[in-house]
Amino acid sequence: MDPTNSDEISRDHILSVIDLSIGIGRTSGVLQLTDGVSFDLTEGQIHGLIGESGCGKSITSLAVMGMLPEPGGILLSGEIMFRGNNIFQMDETRLNRLRGTKVSMIFQEPFAAMNPLIRIEKQMLEIFEYHSVDFDRHKKIRSLLSEVGLTDHGRILRSYPHELSGGMLQRIMIAMSLLLDPEVLIADEPTTALDVTVQAQIMNLIVRLREERKMSVLLISHNIGLMAQYADCISVMYAGQVVEKNEIEPFLAHPSHPYSRGLMGAIPRLDQSNHPIVSIPGQVPEPGNYPAGCRFRKRCSLATEQCISRPPKKTEGSNGSYLCHY
């Protein structure tokens, strides 16, 4: 697909985040957490959202479900369009109908994502109580459990969360999120809490399900290796902004933003024994403490006078877009 042909793209966009700015109300005023975040999800594609902790990835992903941080989350500007409808203009009833059925989400820690007091079967059945469905519920649950690679359904369904392993729970979590056949799956660091071997299984599962179901996936991670392997497009977030956005291959070949290059340099590589691991100096600034001008300049080796004096403008190139003076 030709990325410059914008008409072509917007037709396939199932979900668009447009200029999203979210803040949080504090006694001292409004603290801005994300600033003008924009990206699009194309049908059947995996869109990666990458960045260090505290960059606003999770806040953005929860906003896609229509959830603002609690307490005191404020939508400052922007919209999230799902199939042409603005999520922030929906009332609670419509939002609840959207959640789970159209957009669903899997979380980082499967142990924390299950109610410890309720059996798996009951937890899955409860989801149906809030959405009318016309298929056999028990059959659906069992077929999904097979789909995510779980056998011995009877035992699993009778178990409490603490009786199962992390990998199993994450599979169950994925099965749960697919119960209502959503069109968009948000995976917020789905493999961070799991063993490396299980990580690959879970990711392959997500990729397979995406292909079978023509589902769009918003994959959130701070692991660029994971992105390189699975994502189709990528958005790099830094300090509440999307600093670079591109398709994955050109991005990996030529990262444009110094931060992206820094992330790439920080991956350990097995094929080059003398390749030094370069870390990015410093830390992500706290919201409200962003430096004037470019937010990355204090950690950037290329920073000059103009990075201090004015914030960079979005540069659209043949290689996607990025937010840098250079």
């Binding site: 609690e70 979380f107 410890p116 109580e129």
Partner: protein, 343 residues
């Protein structure tokens, strides 16, 4: 049901394994259930009375004095009936409960001045109004326990509700409610009890009402914290992302998981209730006399130091009850300790 999940069963089993707590629980419950039938254990009315060939059941039914040769339509006085020559002469008999005393009856015909020391007839002696101390202790225990249980139930409900609302909604709601609670809790509790008791009567229900206005505060702090914590947990977020209603999230997801402090605090709330009622009775602001009450017996004991059986028997009863309840509380806390439930 979430309330009887495996975890709950595990906790119950663990509680049973803590012998001291489990036996304390059995003893205290047995005593309480027994005390519910105080009328059958300790009463000056007979179970069965045979008078002139007819059978009567005075504990269960009302009979006027006329029935037994008296003049009036008021309830028959079975103590004097028992001793009347008319009754003894005929073919009459009665089966009395093991302790044939009424907690409100004054034995003014006993020799000497009240309080009378323990004797074969009055095992623990009589109080300053010549009423049987054992009977008053037994009925006092029942009132104490009932009072404390009802008080705990009401204040727990309030505590969960208010703390839960604060924790779930957070933000401004929480802030305003917290300030109001702070103002409310700084009201001098004893003065409120005295004033309300003076304006209205010092009845059982009024006392419960006034005490429960204050008792919920401590628990609401715990519930607030619990709800605040659980609200931000992932499974609540998952429920939200699955489009579940806030009612469901509140009652199915958060509440059952937040009940641990309620249950661990329950025995201590009961102890607090017993203590509060006894203290109020001791000070004379509690239940209206002549209601049998431990606090009132204690204050009699203080006023009649030469009659040590009053204070000693009451203190032993109070001490035993509170000790048993404390053991139960300890056991429950241990059984519910989340750090020991990882297995």
């Amino acid at each position: 049901m979430a309330f009887f999940s495996k975890l709950t069963k595990d906790r119950f089993c663990r509680f049973r394994r803590i012998k001291r707590a489990w036996y304390s629980f059995l003893i205290l419950s047995a005593l309480f259930i027994l005390s519910l039938f105080s009328e059958l254990i300790c009463n000056d009315k007979p179970y069965v009375l045979s008078y002139q060939g007819r059978l009567y059941f005075p504990i269960f039914q009302f009979y006027p004095e006329k029935e037994f040769g008296g003049k009036y339509l008021t309830e028959a006085d079975y103590v004097s009936l028992r001793h009347s020559s008319d009754f003894k002469d005929g073919e009459n008999w009665m089966i009395l409960p093991p302790i044939p005393h009424n907690p409100l009856h004054s034995y003014i015909d006993l020799s000497g001045t009240p309080p009378h020391p323990p004797s074969a007839k009055h095992l623990l002696g009589t109080d300053s109004s010549a009423r049987d101390v054992f009977a008053r202790l037994l009925y006092g225990f029942r009132i104490c326990m009932l009072f404390s249980l009802i008080l705990t139930a009401i204040s727990t409900l309030f505590g969960i509700l208010i703390g839960g609302v604060q924790g779930y909604f957070g933000g401004v709601v929480d802030m305003i409610m917290q300030r109001l609670i702070e103002i409310w809790s700084s009201l001098p509790f004893l003065y409120v009890v005295i004033m309300v008791g003076t304006i209205y009567s010092r009845s059982f229900m009024i006392l419960i009402l006034v005490l429960s206005l204050f008792q919920w505060i401590g628990l609401s702090y715990y519930m607030r914290g619990e709800f605040l914590k659980i609200r931000s947990l992932n499974y609540v977020k998952v429920a939200k992302t699955m489009g579940m209603s806030s009612g469901h999230i509140l009652f199915r997801q958060i509440l059952p998981n937040g009940l641990t402090p309620v249950i661990t605090l329950l025995p201590f709330q009961i102890i607090g209730g017993i203590g509060a009622l006894t203290a109020l009775d001791f000070l004379g602001f509690g239940l209206q006399p002549p209601t049998p009450s431990w606090g009132e017996l204690l204050s009699q004991g203080l006023n009649h130091l030469f009659a040590p059986w009053l204070a000693i028997s009451t203190v032993i009863c109070l001490f035993t009850t509170l000790l048993l309840a404390t053991f139960i509380g300890e056991g429950v806390r241990e059984a519910f300790d989340p750090r020991s439930s990882t297995d």
